[in-house]
């Protein structure tokens, strides 16, 4: 009922506040949303964060540069390898160490595998949030192959800690190439199944098309990067604009869509999965021989100054800002987390829609709350 109608009929309504509390099945972590509702329509969304703040940035101030890397695994745990890579690249560019080609190529392959794993989990959770519960299990089944690859090479499935400043912790396992090739062949038959199960489904389209539109200007002003921003037409792929590791020698497209609604964000991620597969295919057969670690001093001390390094994680642009006073721990380390900027677009997007649409929108933004709270 609009305000004019209410005025005409002399009806007074009062908005009520509802708490989608920290413990909730569909907020993907501990996030508290205070919704101001008028009946079913959302008037305002206010996210409250900080429930999983573990002071990672503070802990980095007392650890040496080699010891910071394992803490970044636990920020955005779905793109753990890319977080590690960001810190290692920051240290390497500050010390002006040139890593061997082999390291660059392997880092890129592992980063793209992590991106695939993160998108697979996102797809499963998106299906589950909207009610298609089997989609969850299918996404996880495909992710298991990537987890096995990581377990064999890096030693762990979630908190890999494989990158060190200067290179990799150990060389890749002899089975690595074979497993990755098997995985690519297997997964290429699965993405069309994903499309058949969810993307083409008329119920799914009805629930995501036209919902939660984010225009390009809003995306730029909120700083929404990653697939969230690219689905609104904001060209922000760090791999294209500021290439690092081996991204300048592979050929891939940057996925840009125009509409900026939930379905565009969904489709952008599905197309990104195809692009990741394409990147891995180009690199897996041509891993150059060489060392897996560049020589670094026993105690790493960064020169005095400020250094910034950006990396494209599965959620968007992760920035690492290091202020160093010349000692063996940083004076201040700040992470520009992609989830933080992406989350706060929800207030702008969700006004005027219903609560069921809010859940669809939040799953398309792909939030991982430890990334926001660090």
């Amino acid at each position: 009922m609009t305000a004019e109608v209410k005025e005409q009929r002399g009806i007074k309504t009062q908005e009520y506040f509802v708490n989608m509390g920290p413990q909730h099945p569909s907020t993907h972590g501990v996030l508290r949303l205070v919704l101001e509702l008028d009946g079913e329509i959302i008037q305002r969304v206010e996210p409250h964060i900080g429930y999983i703040h573990r002071s990672i940035e503070k802990m980095c101030e007392k650890d040496s540069y080699r010891q910071i890397v394992h803490l970044t695994d636990r920020m955005d745990y779905l793109s753990a390898n890319m977080n590690n890579e960001a810190v290692c690249l920051a240290v390497e560019s500050a010390l002006e160490i040139e890593v061997p080609d082999r390291v660059k190529v392997i880092r890129t392959i592992i980063a793209e595998l992590t991106r695939l794993a993160s998108h697979q989990l996102w797809w499963g959770v998106m299906g589950m949030d909207l009610g298609a519960l089997t989609a969850f299990l299918y996404g996880f089944r495909d992710r298991e192959m990537i987890n096995d690859i990581f377990e064999e090479t890096c030693g762990a499935r979630l908190t890999m800690n494989y990158n060190v400043p200067g290179g990799l912790m150990f060389d890749i396992h002899p089975n690595f190439q074979r497993r990755v090739k098997e995985f690519i062949a297997h997964f290429k038959t699965k993405i069309p199944e994903y499309d058949q199960l969810l993307s083409d489904n008329v119920i799914f389209r009805e629930r995501t098309e036209g919902i939660g539109i984010l225009s390009k200007e809003d995306a730029i002003s909120y700083g929404a990067t990653g697939p969230t921003g690219r689905a609104s037409g904001f060209s922000c792929d760090v791999r294209k604009h500021h290439p690092y590791s081996a991204y300048d020698r592979v050929e891939f497209k940057e996925i840009l869509m125009e509409k900026g609604d939930s379905f565009a964000r969904y489709k952008a991620r599905i197309l990104e999965m195809w692009e990741s597969l394409h990147i891995i295919e180009q690199l897996i057969d041509n891993i150059p021989e060489g060392e897996y670690q560049a020589p670094t001093k026993a105690v790493i001390k960064l020169p005095k100054g400020e250094f910034y390094q950006r990396v494209e994680t599965a959620r968007g642009e992760l920035g690492v800002y290091v202020v160093s006073e010349g000692s063996k721990s940083p004076y201040r380390l700040k992470f520009r987390s992609p989830g933080f900027s992406n989350l706060f677009t929800i207030d702008h997007m969700a006004r005027g829609y219903k609560i069921a649409d809010l859940v669809a929108m939040m799953s398309t933004i792909d939030l991982v709350i430890p990334d926001i709270d660090r």
Partner: protein
Amino acid sequence: MNPILKYIGDIAHGLKTLIKGMQVTGYYISHAKKEIITQQYPENRESLEMFDRYRGIVEMPHDENNEHACTGCSACEVACPNGTIEIISKRVEDPETGRKKKAIDQFVYHYSMCTLCNLCILSCPTDAIIMGKNFEHSVFDRKQLTMTLNKPGSKIRADVKE
């Protein structure tokens, strides 16, 4: 006439996409025997093999004479980010030269704080510690998580150099 045709077209398209979706799940349930990927966990312990590099818990391997390779140099204690390892060393008499040397008394390992980051293994100069594959460490009493890795009565192997 056109709105009616569009209406019927919408319904037909909707039904087609729904049936295609059902085909995917229908395939999986009809081939359930080969497509089921879960394993019954506690019952399959015998056949469960972890990968070589899997990080389960830090262990100090002892050979058959109850000897290990740890010299008590504390490189792992320095490398550990959060103080999981505490090295308590003692001075023993070296039988060959007669001088006092540092040896390991207790290698205290707080498993409850360990993040399994592998930095201690990399920093050990004598390869005394490895990452074990056992991951079943649930206990009822938290004190059992503070372990001493070197077994009682063990000493360093003779051929380990500092």
